[in-house]
Symmetry: C2
Subunit: 479 residues, 2 copies
């Protein structure tokens, strides 16, 4: 029980896997949202909470900082800390999460977007376009002459020729400065970020994340005991100055400069330089998710943030799972010299090394020129499908949704023109069998974003037109 | 600085990824081993250390408990806590570890046992015996007719038909009570244990581990912030009564009942029942690593511990990586109902789902009867190779080593008859190009075990005879 002006706050049990900070943060937030800690009421000092629960004051301070950041509590010199009079309203009604900070994500998203893929599934690439029979031929050839070395255990960083092929590719197409020794083969972005978050940082370290941003990132960061700090993005990407205000001493920033998720914007050069400057000044690490950068169908390719870095501060995450097919499970980290060792050590401890034969097949696919060819083909196809979505949205959805101009990727945000919330729009769409995600799933503190995330990559003209009509009907029913 | 009778102890910085408990434990241990905290000297009370470092007393107590467990400090009522007068001698000379508790493992083991595989590499199966051209045919057939579903994202638990095949296999061959819904496909034992350790337990939870035991297990457990408690094993497996003495309220026990690593013993039925009884009484979870159980070449197959459990307390870990080939990267967890959800949630968050096409190929391999056939063949081959190692050890190594009777697996302990330490023997062997690991690598507190771990699975008669002669020469040089 925390006593607060006569109010007693029951603090529930800590759930498995929940850090002390997360636990305290969530319990206090719950007490505030449920009204047990009333608006304007004074909260005990961090020191007395620490003593009462036998936890360190640092833990309590970290929980308080997150509550401050998110607007649940207010702190004024001389007045102590009080519950805010205006609360972040989008969280109401609040349900007690089953597991820490995961209430809107993971399993739920997965079940909504499972095959069969239907419009406007925002995460699915056009898997049916993948040249699977070519892949089968390469696989058969490689497997018949497989060396015992590829069958045996391998290098935790991955198969050397594949690492070379990846270094070549990111060098030529993304302007990335790297050598094969800096490439670590992973199963994809999540795996790469999990390895980084657990091996390079300390529990309690703050990490800037984009708001809105990919919820999967935040989950991985929190699972490692790190504290995500939401920093707003605009049409030029992450607003670095706001990050510096909120958490000047964060240990890292996670960004999607090539194609911001979910807004689709590209980070401007001045912001990139400002971000690098902050990282250099504070020795923070920048984690660049080069998400969807391959599918730029408008404008010139923008070199990766990593290519501007001269100080070994950027870790780049890439993935083959969207570019080839999601069931492949291959991605990579490009790590500077100084960060390789801890990442590789954890990799070896947690899952040894990537599968040998599969790495060799992917390597053959890249070195045979098939990867570049497939990319080119998909880039054109996705550009067409994006145009088709625009045309059909103009025709059927103009009353409901407005689409920004995007330049890359598999999906686009579609902002609501009516009064529906993102969640209401998602529900209405789902009822009629449309696959989509409300932008509220990716918003952390922003109040100004309402819309749906619409994918176009996996659907032909007819499917897009049918989907647009159906979505219009769904939203009509809820105007 | 911790002040202790005028002695000042510099406490170093906490390394990334190191929990507060690990950090304090290691710093105090280092201060003791380096002689800065002298034998017999009194250590400040947990309370004053907690206040001084602004950490919780619980954290300090946990670090102290581990130091007590391992014999570095002694606690007597009325006398406070003092540095032990006799220290665990095998740790001297002690080097400050670069990363928490990982000083003897990981990268080092890996580099020693890398291909080319030579006698007596203890971790390598006979990969050259794997029917790779049959696998290539199955792969080619499956890939040419692959469904879009297998190319797309899948179920975090794995491909349903593969889970069925695994449930069938562990049911018939290991007596495991399970249904396909309880099978989670992983990349192997380490991955499975990492998922379990992070999703089911809280940082600071104690886990019994076998002494001697597999160091890779301890690493994964520590990476999750859990505290391994070393419990001695004898020829009947884990000595449950000692576990109950040392850590009665541990939250889990990690055991290798089928084939203890590295001693090769099988856990007796009475110990199994005693372990289950403890788990039932304390609601602890038993993590059963069914390591090498497939390769039983003597005696009857022993059903898994899981098959005796009626209370959903056992998580079973299995792997295809040793049975088929290490580069495959497939294993599984068999989880009771109540533990499925948190494991699957973390799995989805950290690496989504296993690779689709590969799972289908493995499934075809099992369902076509090739898996059972390969197992039978390997069982006979390994039995022969084990006999060959015994014969050659009798002939060339009788002065140096004594081999116990083992009934399963890819390797055997070989106990030193001379005065060499395990480490000296390993060094001498390595100098002449023999691949082996000293048993000291797997010992946690035991003083009574000196020997080498010798693998026989990957070597023919000639290689084993040559290896035995070479090893004899190496050990002769160091008598």
């Amino acid at each position: 029980m925390v006593k607060s002006r006569g109010t007693e706050i029951a603090i529930g049990d800590r759930r498995p896997g929940c850090t002390l900070t997360q636990w305290l943060y969530e319990e206090l937030r719950f007490a505030i949202l449920s009204g047990r800690l009333k608006r304007g009421v004074r909260i005990p000092a961090t020191r007395s909470i620490a003593v009462q629960y036998g936890i360190s004051r640092r833990t309590v301070v970290a929980a308080f900082e997150q509550l401050l950041d998110e607007g649940y509590i207010t702190s004024r010199t001389g007045h102590g800390t009080t519950v805010s009079r205006t609360l972040p309203s989008d969280f109401l009604p609040y349900r007690r999460p089953e597991t820490p900070s995961k209430q809107r994500v993971g399993a739920d998203i997965l079940s909504r977007l499972q095959p069969p893929i239907r419009p406007f599934n925002p995460i699915s690439p056009a898997v049916t376009e993948f040249p699977i029979s070519l892949w089968a031929r390469l696989a058969s050839r490689r497997l018949r002459q497989l060396s015992a070395t590829l069958l045996s255990g391998g290098d935790p960083a991955g198969y050397a020729p594949l690492r070379e092929a990846i270094a070549d590719y990111v060098g030529t197409s993304r302007g990335v400065n790297t050598r094969p020794e800096h490439v670590i083969v992973t199963t994809g972005m999540h795996h790469g970020l999990d390895l980084i978050a657990r091996s390079i940082f300390k529990p309690g370290d703050q990490v800037w994340v984009e708001d809105p941003g990919y919820s999967g990132t935040t989950e991985v960061i929190q699972n490692a005991g790190l504290v995500p700090i939401a920093v707003p993005v605009d049409e030029r990407g992450l607003i670095v100055s706001l990050g510096k205000e909120k958490a000047p001493n964060a240990k890292a920033a996670f960004v999607t400069p090539a194609h911001q998720f979910p807004l689709g914007s590209t980070m401007s050069l001045d912001r990139r330089l400002e971000l690098l400057q902050w990282a250099r000044a504070t020795r923070a690490i920048l984690i660049e998710d080069d998400y969807d950068s391959e599918f730029r169908f408008q404008g010139r390719p923008i070199p990766a943030l990593q290519s501007l870095d001269r100080n070994g501060l950027v870790l780049l995450l890439g993935s083959f799972n969207k570019v080839l097919f999601p069931g492949l499970r291959f991605g990579y980290i490009i790590a500077p010299d100084s960060l390789l060792e801890p990442i590789l050590r954890l990799r070896f401890q947690m899952d040894r090394y990537p599968p040998g034969p599969q790495q060799a097949i992917l390597c053959d696919f890249i070195n045979g020129g098939h990867f570049e060819r497939h990319l080119r083909k998909m880039r054109e196809l996705y550009a067409e499908r994006w145009r088709s979505l625009r045309v059909n949205a103009d025709r059927y959805l103009a009353r409901h949704l407005s689409l920004p101009t995007i330049e890359a990727g598999l999906n686009t945000p579609a902002y609501l023109r009516t009064r529906l919330t993102s969640h209401q729009a998602e529900l209405a769409a789902t009822k009629l069998g449309i696959q989509t995600l409300g932008l509220d799933r990716f918003v952390r503190q922003r109040q100004d974003i309402r819309g749906l995330l619409l994918g176009f990559a996996a659907f032909n003209d007819q499917q897009i037109a049918d989907g647009a009509k159906l979505l219009a009907r769904a939203l009509d029913g809820r105007r």
